[in-house]
Amino acid sequence: MSPSNTLLDSALPPPAPSKPTTKTRPFYWSVRRELWENRSIYIAPLAAAGVVLVGLIIGAFHLPTRWAHMVSTLDPTRQSQIVAIPYAIAATAIMATAFVVAIFYSLGALQSERRDRSILFWKSLPVSDLTTVMSKAVIPLVVLPVVSFVIMLVTLLFMLAVTAVVLPMNGAPANLLLSAFPLGKTTVELAYVLVVFTLWHAPIWGWLMLVSGWARRATFLWAFGPPVVACVFERLAFNTSYLPALLHYRLTGALTEAFNAGDASANMNHLDLAQMDPLKFMFTPGLWLGLLVAAILFAAAVWQRRYRAPI
């Protein structure tokens, strides 16, 4: 097209000089964007903690005297074990909630932006697919574990305060819970459990995110259907169950590989500093294989987003 002077041109102001560019933080703002959109990331674990706490407080204030008497007659070790149970329940509830939130978040992460067509808006901004996918990946990999950690710690402090009031009323020592969960040790334990599980589950988040970016609908079905079908097929065709064992190992293996107890059904109050074995965990091939698979899955999700359009 040749340049021409139209009526329009004469009325226009001269070109303005380009303004200096401002410093940006695409990754930081993309993560905040995720938190704006998915408030369940922090609301759900908070709600879980709240429900458990309120239930415990109501229960604690009308503790049957018989039970209280029984506790006070037990030896101190047994006492602290019993008092530890409610916090173990609370911590487990928070972790389980965070896990469920992570599943549903990951399944929607790269699908909802296509469904509501907002992907066209996100792609109109200078944010790379890598930054976008990584900002979503850190939700199950970093944000949710940190949120869970903080909530579990605050819950513990809160319960320490409550038991310090309630226990003496029932004739038990005020520091009973503290002796079951010494603050420093418990902080380390909680952090260890979260780190170990997050690293161990990384390929799960990678898989869910890939499905989320790939499936047009029914992400849940696409994510969990094929593994189940494959397990059934393996059973029927070869009468073996390597795949179910593999999946089970991926779900709960962190318990057996990162702790010495070797008890897969171990509860929070059974896990102990003494049982933590970071060295054993670090030399578990399953950890590194899992991380490698996770890296491949996340890379595929990044590569795939370039081709994604509204559905």
């Binding site: 226009l12 703002w29 704006w36 109109s124 359009a309």
Partner: protein, 291 residues
């Protein structure tokens, strides 16, 4: 440097060829109207230019390969896609925060000033805004970005006349200058005719017309011919003929103005009328005259 330069740009979906090796060149400081029927390849072409879809052939936008460097390209390119695509869960203040946080050329004060002229509340959710207001918000975000190329794909679809008029007025008065380039596609051709500097018709994946508006005005003429002069007028080989109130309006390409003036009142056709003539002829070659 041209803003957009394409050679042999091609895109096929299976056996359907959406873009059939088109050559395209858009200079800086132009406002190009890309006009075509549904499924002509407009959006495919824009998607290629914006780095949203892969393509074959050579394409450079502001000197960059859009498919490879989309995120870098988007520092200098803005686009509004066919319908409101702002996320519905977002608050207006969050939209401002986010764009300010990721876009190096975003001037927040400018966006705030533009929003102040509207009735949009900072705390409103996008989902609670009317379609017209969402477009105003999007326009406020876009206009505060010091971009070199703005691509609008049916930006006023579904808006009422007031918002549509305001949209283009704002764009021209407060945004456009010679350092920027605008590419717009729309079906409401009459609304953009007065703002375009260049015109391009695209049909079935090919460019069937490419000219500046100045050339358009020189080249094409429309004459309302009385029935007794119809035969003489037809002898000049009109591009298209239509009936209005019992009189014939003939559209000519490159005919001598003086000759035409003897047949009746000569005027510049609407883009819409030329579109019907050119695309209609393209769709059914036997019906068209000497095109």
């Amino acid at each position: 440097m041209s803003c957009i330069e394409a050679h042999g740009l091609r895109k096929a979906f299976g056996n359907t060829v959406a873009l059939d090796s088109i050559d395209l060149r858009v200079e800086t400081g132009r406002i190009l109207g890309l006009i075509g029927p549904n499924g002509a390849g407009k959006t495919t072409a824009l998607n290629a230019i914006l780095g949203l879809a892969s393509y074959e052939g050579d394409l450079k936008v502001l000197g960059r390969d859009p498919w490879r460097d989309r995120d870098e390209l988007m520092r200098d390119v803005c686009f509004i896609a066919d319908v409101a695509v702002l996320p519905r869960w977002m608050r207006v203040s969050q939209a401002l925060d986010y764009v300010a946080g990721v876009h190096p050329r975003f001037d927040r004060a400018k966006a705030e000033a533009f929003l102040a002229k509207t009735s949009i509340q900072r705390s409103s959710l996008v989902r609670s805004l009317s379609k017209g207001m969402v477009t105003q918000l999007h326009l406020a975000l876009i206009m505060a970005i010091d971009a070199k190329l703005l691509v609008l794909d049916e930006p006023t679809l579904g808006l009422d006349i007031l918002y549509r008029k305001e949209f283009y007025d704002t764009l021209l008065n407060d945004y456009f200058d010679h350092s920027r380039t605008i590419v717009v596609t729309t079906h409401q051709v009459e609304e953009v005719q007065h703002i375009l500097t260049d015109l391009m018709f695209i049909n079935r994946g090919r460019i069937v017309l490419d000219c500046s508006m100045e050339a358009f005005e020189q080249r094409y003429a429309e004459v309302m011919v009385a029935p007794e002069q119809l035969a003489a007028a037809r002898a000049l080989g009109p591009l298209h003929e239509r009936q209005v109130f019992g009189r014939s309006i003939l559209l000519f390409d490159g005919a001598d103005r003086k000759t035409l003036a003897e047949l009746g009142e000569v005027r510049t056709p609407n883009i819409a009328d030329l579109f019907v003539a050119v695309i209609g002829a393209d769709a059914a070659p036997t019906q068209g005259a000497a095109a």
